[in-house]
Symmetry: C2
Subunit: 377 residues, 2 copies
């Protein structure tokens, strides 16, 4: 497993400690699995972290004790890690840890902790006279994660690169008589063959009218001549996600298929061309949207243009229209996200084209490398 | 897609409405995706439901409008469904829906809603003079889901049955020179061949010393003669999860491998034999634990004996030791869960054996059907 080195973790810890200091917090309770992995290399599906000034207190149940021990004996050991075994519940262990370490003003991740866990912690701390005040925080670790370090960029670049043979395998399956599900199975086998540990999300193979459903997955529909097929898939490599969409046709495509495909491709290239440091995420979205509007397809493009990629397959930055709940973000070198406009016409079908891009010092590096043609060579 | 019929949904709605009445609530905000699917058949990754006395208000963004329309035109239409399009954020749309429907005392799922969403809703409702009081609820829909209806049992039985050929394919791959990852790839291809829509969780192939890590996944380790290999996999069929573990050896197994395997198998059978209506989940756990303790492997069995299976791969009931945070549940006919004791010996390896069981009127039906031998035929 390639993971962050101890010195990379040191840099991440320093960033979190600066954030805690600015917020007047003694420690941060981290409950989102990807945030825990980012700060400790612990990749389990359970775990709670208390990130404090002097130590990273990682609470782990029986299932993860041995893997944590092995990790700490490797070059990917987490600096200043203290493992707390969880014997009853995670929240019992958390209260014990908070009491034992003597932290008093402690942040929690309001975007991840549930109301039930929060209420239990507050109520039980009071009942047991644990002198701790819990304060909501937003995006403390996410803000650090949005700009990737060199190791992360290397992994994301490699993950994107490995989608090329997977796409080729998918294209070969797109022919009359194949089911969507068979194409999806081939894609997932090819992801494994390419060395991915698992698919980053449920593979989408949406053919004919199904392609009008942006989040359709794959079903029993049999591909027919003239079908337009949206193929959307990605893999996880060393924890980091890749994500690609191509839309191809079972020959012969209709004139409408060529028209919509061309418009979406133009929109996608316009958004890619807009990417550079300092430009806002909403401007990247605008670049794609303007092209589709010019083609009379503005209404057919109902979702955002892209999303960040990293330890989560959907993370910051969100590349969307101006929205009340998503602040536009100025792009910085090291950000990695998808560019994936689409056009969906109920009854007819749809087209989506997606690449993964890295913001560089001068502009943009497209990490994925797969031909765009509606009829692949 | 096989989903709940409209009349099955009617029964589920009636159960939720009775629960709301008992709690003095006008409506329930449902945010857990599996709970939304259970009540509406909507299977998307986004969506918010307001379950009220007269209607099921389903808030959906652009991506799901067309699939909801198609679902409502099918035999699986959700009764009394009203779809609300989400144009800005889900929580904006939720407040509009609450204001428009005039409900005033509204429950939310405290175990799923985050502190951040809750605070935004409370603050914004006050600022906009929406006269709604939000009340935390726990397990309203989960309590209905724990006893499966006939349609769910049929699907879960079929999902478990389809693991037999997958296990056979996995066993054939267990030989010297194969990597764990190659075995996992074969398992996942076989899951697709068996008609599953996707794996229910990351496939585990843990060989040799890796088998001592209960939640190891699959890596580059090459299988060797004498290895003990834990194979843990499952598939999702029409939304419902199956889950199976077998532990097999690359010949020739050591005496210790036979000893530990035999002990775990005895423990597993003891737990299966304990299953019948009225017995507590903690007693099922106790039956397995007692056998392992008698074999001197009590300390080596650090996790619970099982978990419920349904729309989630880990749901109620939890089959565990008595714990402060998990109430023992008396078994009822229609409950479906796993029985999966294990023994993990750091440095040596581990053994886990898992089947899926249904509580019947008189005892227990084992849904999975795969031989247990350490050296498969």
């Amino acid at each position: 497993m390639a993971a962050a080195t101890s010195s990379q973790l040191d840099v991440r810890h320093a960033a979190i400690r600066r954030a805690l200091e600015a917020l007047g917090l003694d420690a941060l309770i981290v409950t989102a699995p990807a945030n825990i992995r980012y700060l400790t290399n612990h990749a389990g599906s359970a775990g709670t972290l208390v990130a404090a000034a002097r130590a990273m207190h990682l609470l782990l149940d029986f299932r993860y004790q041995e893997s944590a021990r092995l990790l700490q004996a490797s070059p990917f050991a987490c600096p200043a890690l203290k493992v707390w075994p969880v014997t009853a519940s995670y929240d019992e262990a958390l209260l014990e840890c908070l009491a034992a370490t003597g932290v008093t003003t402690v942040g929690f991740e309001a975007g991840h902790l549930t109301v039930a866990r929060h209420e239990w912690l507050v109520r039980t701390a009071a009942a047991r006279s644990v002198a701790v005040t819990l304060r909501p925080t937003e995006r403390v670790v996410e803000q650090a994660r949005v700009v990737k370090d060199d190791g992360e960029v290397t992994t994301l670049r490699e993950a994107a690169r490995r989608l090329t043979p997977v796409a080729r395998a998918a294209f070969e399956m797109v022919r009359p008589g194949t089911t969507e599900r068979a194409v999806a199975a081939r894609v997932e086998a090819a992801l494994r063959e390419a060395g991915f540990e698992r698919p980053a999300f449920d593979t989408i193979v949406a053919s004919g009218p199904n392609a009008a459903l942006p989040h359709y997955r794959a079903g029993d529909r049999v591909l027919e001549r003239g079908d337009v097929v949206v193929l959307d898939f990605g893999g996880v490599l060393d924890g980091y996600c890749s994500d690609l969409t191509r839309t191809v046709a079972v020959a012969p495509p209709s004139a409408e298929a060529y028209r919509v495909h061309q418009a979406v491709r133009e929109a996608q290239q316009a958004a890619i061309d807009a990417v550079r440091p300092g430009i806002a995420t909403t401007d990247v979205d605008r670049a794609a949207r303007r092209v589709l509007e010019a083609h009379g397809l503005g209404e057919a493009f109902g979702h955002g243009t892209g999303h960040g990629l990293g330890l989560d397959v959907h993370e910051e930055p969100r590349v969307t229209r101006p929205r009340a709940d998503v602040a536009p973000v100025p792009l910085e070198p090291g950000m990695v996200f998808t560019i994936e406009p689409g056009a969906y016409l109920p009854g007819w079908g749809g087209v989506r084209i997606e690449d993964d891009v890295l913001v560089t010092a001068r502009g943009c590096e497209v990490l994925t490398s797969v031909p765009y043609a509606l009829i692949p060579d």
